[in-house]
Symmetry: C2
């Protein structure tokens, strides 16, 4: 983790971010990113060992810029289980569109690239923690009607990035409708009532 204040590195990360965002899934070529960053293709290899690591670094960069930690702590503040569920669904659901382009790229690459898979699964595991915490809070309140493991699996799947993509991109749901509906279904599935 180099602490160098190289602006080139950031320009590369921002260029990659922009390109992946504008064309999710279709991994940009190194030469495209270089051009967008106003830098030579070889300069990319001065800062990142390979394309995969560049994209992984881009997601980390996003997390820093957006401050995922703050986002998570917000949902931790909720007292009741139901509030916590709502806070988590809202926070994560609204985070997805911000990271979608890069995340989807990583997701697709993770099918063929072990390093990408590692980074992607780590990210998904982190998100699962949030699901598990919300589920545990519901259980503490005595409103959970499923085993915690199953409930977590379900919530985790409901909140997956591809679910978000399907509903908002393919079905044209607004972000608000997505959040409300996922929350409604989650409450029904986990607590048996809305």
């Amino acid at each position: 983790m180099s602490r160098e204040n190289s602006s080139t590195r950031e320009r590369i990360l921002n260029a990659a971010w922009k390109l992946l965002d504008s064309n999710p899934g279709t991994a940009a070529r190194m030469s495209d990113i270089a051009k967008a960053a106003g830098v030579s293709r070889q300069a990319l290899y001065l800062h990142f060992p390979n394309r995969t690591e560049l994209f992984i670094a881009t997601t980390r960069h996003q997390d820093e810029v957006f401050g995922v930690q703050n986002m998570l702590s917000a949902s931790r503040a909720a007292t009741s289980g139901e509030d916590r569920l709502a806070a988590f669904v809202t926070a994560w659901g609204n985070y997805i569109p911000k990271i979608f382009g890069v995340a989807k790229t990583l997701m697709i690459m993770s099918e063929t690239d072990a390093d990408a898979a590692g980074a992607w699964h780590e990210r998904m595991a982190d998100m699962r923690e949030g699901c598990a915490a919300a589920v545990a809070a519901l259980a503490r309140d005595g409103v959970l009607i499923k085993e915690q493991k199953d409930a977590t699996d379900l919530l985790w799947t409901l909140l997956s990035i591809t679910t978000w993509e399907q509903l908002t991109r393919l079905c044209d749901w607004s972000q608000d409708r997505y959040i409300n509906e996922i929350l409604r279904v989650a409450r029904l599935a986990l607590c048996g009532r809305a």
Copy 2:
């Protein structure tokens, strides 16, 4: 199932099928498929214009072998809306594992390949028809608590291949648990009751 006198074309399709099944998403190389089919790499291009079309042909081949039509007609036979929903979820849910390897490959390719995208979206649109029909049947019975469009979107998403993958592959759900749980959530989400 396989005729020993199978034509070269079919041997290629079966080789592709097998390879994509054993390694979903990681699109096999043309040379791998050729080797598996016991044929030269160039022979593939005698039967299919390119890799994408070979994979598309492989999904069509699967649909023929499995007889998707029969599967769909089974759920059409149900009288009540709730029965129809159950029949459709069961039929499609049990079809997914049969086609998963090839389907996922096509899904991933469709991010970067327009032809693959066309075939994939067509397939998903077909499946959506089944969802829409089940939803319409529920509406006729007066048990649907959502707009038909929204209900269809939701059911379609619940039944997506990636949802199946997440629950059965990443969460280790059995096929039975998957079917039961998706059906339970679908009933809750669409009818408000299990």
